[in-house]
Symmetry: C2
Subunit: 409 residues, 2 copies
């Protein structure tokens, strides 16, 4: 008989943590390094200590808790993040953290010893909603983002990430650098429609799509909306609109499973009776095929150039963040697949369309991910939901895969 | 020999008032009922008292200063507004107020008595940048906007106009209602290119174009920008972009001198990796011909309906503000034209493309306006500029027209 996680305890932990930063509509707004994030972290650290873990916090505020193994070997680490987007949901991120904690609590319940230590991790600012880029905590740990650059990231109010880390008391003493890790396992909601559409409980994630983020600033001529004839206008928002439409067309031109999104768009001065003088916007391009993203960036370059010329506006286009296609570790993916099978979870292999801390961890240790379904494929919204039966099967898959990788008795 | 305004004194007043709310680039951000607006009002009231005027403040914070006439007759009133848009310029509004003050100071210098009192007015929240609708102070005075509705207008931070009026100390005791006025004269910058293109100093304004303001809320499905396939998206910003482009096309379809502008557009949640779930935007439609605006509103209705259906988003479209074509008083317009001629100002008749307090005043008393040129046709921006020679000719035209209407000795 395999070990089984305690479904009731996991549900109670989800409810308790979900109350911190809860929105009136039952979603979650717990942006990175806010007071709500601090309260969520405090509760998690309290639970980790109660589970007998040795807790360490690094210079990026990443939190680690370790359960000793029988031998002085690198740990098997499970984890995710605890920050959310604004008006997000209660599953993206915190579910992976709580399933990791539940897996460790289950090892404790069963007094199961492991050769390798079993650890859990909570990474800082995964969402990129408050500070850019996203996944900054794991990015620094993997040596892909400089610590100083991370500290100097600023939110919209101009607050520095480094200062906010210190303010909430999570600027830890440990170095934020790669170290030997037997394997990193992350359970996360799919955030897409496939598992639900196919009535599956578990996705065995083989890798993550390639991602490109660009920032575009369009500068036209701010003027009065009344007396300025149409012939004289250089309207930054009209140019931006044509680019939003053009970005929507890019996936059709590229084909495959490419997606393209303008998620952020800010207008200045943003009043009804002024012709917009300036627009700042984001462009997010993703595809399973690395070359498709490269081609899409090329199409974006041309789209922006042509549109800006047509409207007579100036522009600055910065492709500031690029994550190559991530391939997860074959042994870890196989172990997860066998664990899903042995747990009895209906499952399939798939790719992640979203970035995750696992992406950076894959650069420094054998990594894999477990997806559970998202109702309606929806996430980054208050309606985010995953049925508890699926969560239970996902958590048992995580527990079994981690136990096997750690060499459980 | 006609009276002449004191150019140096006018320039000094423009410089002094322009320092209150000045932006680093030399523009002006003095939004209605902010601390900067209060400081600007305080300085103007001080100057008005120093010029011997009896100052009265009404329940909308409109400020009036009156110089007695020889007889108990209705006053000739000159005025404009002292609030600005964000990162606006130093000419829109405050120039008209300061030219009115300068005209009165000149009457004082010359010890000129008039049959009618000569008054000046400073209207609250003309711009509509902080509180909507625009021209709210004159609108209430003209009985076109209910006082309670005006008090309940809220800015983006949820602050009430009534509360802000009280906070800055300009909730006055006088009733804000129509009263007998011999004539209302407003000097203002053109905010368009015509006077400059034709090398003229003064525009004799015959009326104001018809204006319609609409608010549109588009509600799509907020979701993660990565794993959500293109086929499933209901992106509020994509729909908004198509509407921005469609609004740009409306004047081409209508013809004439119609203009159409989306000046404000807000996205939620407005982060790079979420498909926008909601967009709120403004649509401003104007034309010299009333029927053209009516047809444009019809085109907008269809555009929004078709676009929302194509993207699968819901919408609420509210045509919340409509100002009919304003025809100024024939006698007042003629008086201004003769004054421009007698002042030696190169001038022409034209229409205003922008709304002004004169629009509401025209409903309760004989009204006219005097335009001075806008460099490059530009306004509502920090680059707003009018040459001092043109301002001097405009101010002298205002002084002469007001003197004649007031029956100067």
């Amino acid at each position: 008989m395999q070990m089984q996680i305690n479904r009731k305890r996991l549900e109670e932990s989800m409810a308790a943590l979900g109350r911190i930063g809860e929105t009136p509509a039952g979603g979650l707004s717990r942006l990175a390094l806010t007071d709500e994030d601090r309260r969520g972290r405090d509760l998690l650290v309290e639970w980790m200590r109660a589970a007998g873990l040795t807790v360490a916090i690094d210079r990026m505020g990443n939190i680690f808790g370790e359960r000793p193994g029988r031998e002085g070997l690198p740990p098997v680490m499970m984890g995710s993040h605890a920050d959310s987007v604004p008006t997000g949901g209660k599953y993206d991120g915190q579910l992976g953290v709580l399933c990791a904690l539940e897996a460790i609590r289950t090892l404790n319940d069963n007094k199961t010893a492991t050769r390798h230590p079993v650890a859990m991790a909570i990474f800082t600012n995964e969402e990129g909603a408050r500070f850019q880029p996203a996944m900054i905590g794991s990015g620094v740990m993997a040596g892909q983002i400089a610590l100083e650059d991370a500290y100097n990231a600023r939110d919209r109010d101009g607050l520095r990430l480094g200062d906010e880390l210190e303010r909430i008391g999570y600027l830890g003493p440990e170095l934020c650098i790669p170290r030997p890790i037997r394997a990193y396992l992350e359970l996360h909601i799919e955030q897409g429609p496939i598992l639900e559409e196919q009535h599956l409980s578990v996705g065995v994630v083989e890798g993550i799509v390639a991602i490109s983020w660009s920032k575009l600033v369009l500068t036209g001529v701010q003027d009065h909306a009344g007396p300025t004839p149409m012939r004289m206008r250089k309207d930054a928002l009209v140019a931006a609109a044509d680019i939003v439409r053009g970005v929507r067309e890019i996936p059709r031109k590229i084909g495959g499973d490419m997606v393209a999104t303008v998620g952020r768009l800010d207008v200045a001065p943003n009043i009804p009776n002024a012709i917009p003088g300036k627009v700042t916007m984001s462009v997010d391009l993703r595809a399973p095929d690395e070359h498709h993203v490269t081609r899409a960036v090329g199409l974006l370059d041309r789209l922006v150039k042509d549109t800006a010329r047509a409207e007579g506006v100036r522009y600055e286009l910065d492709h500031y963040w690029r994550v190559p296609r991530t391939h997860f570790d074959l042994e870890v993916v196989d172990t997860i697949e066998r664990a899903a099978k042995d747990t009895g979870a209906r499952h399939r292999r798939l790719l992640s369309g979203a970035g995750h801390d696992a992406q950076y961890m894959a650069a420094i240790c054998p990594t894999g991910m477990i997806f559970v379904p998202s109702r309606g494929g929806r996430s980054h919204c208050e309606e985010e939901f995953t049925p508890m039966n699926d969560i239970e099967e996902g958590a048992n898959t995580l527990l079994l895969a981690a136990s096997r990788l750690a060499g459980a008795d």
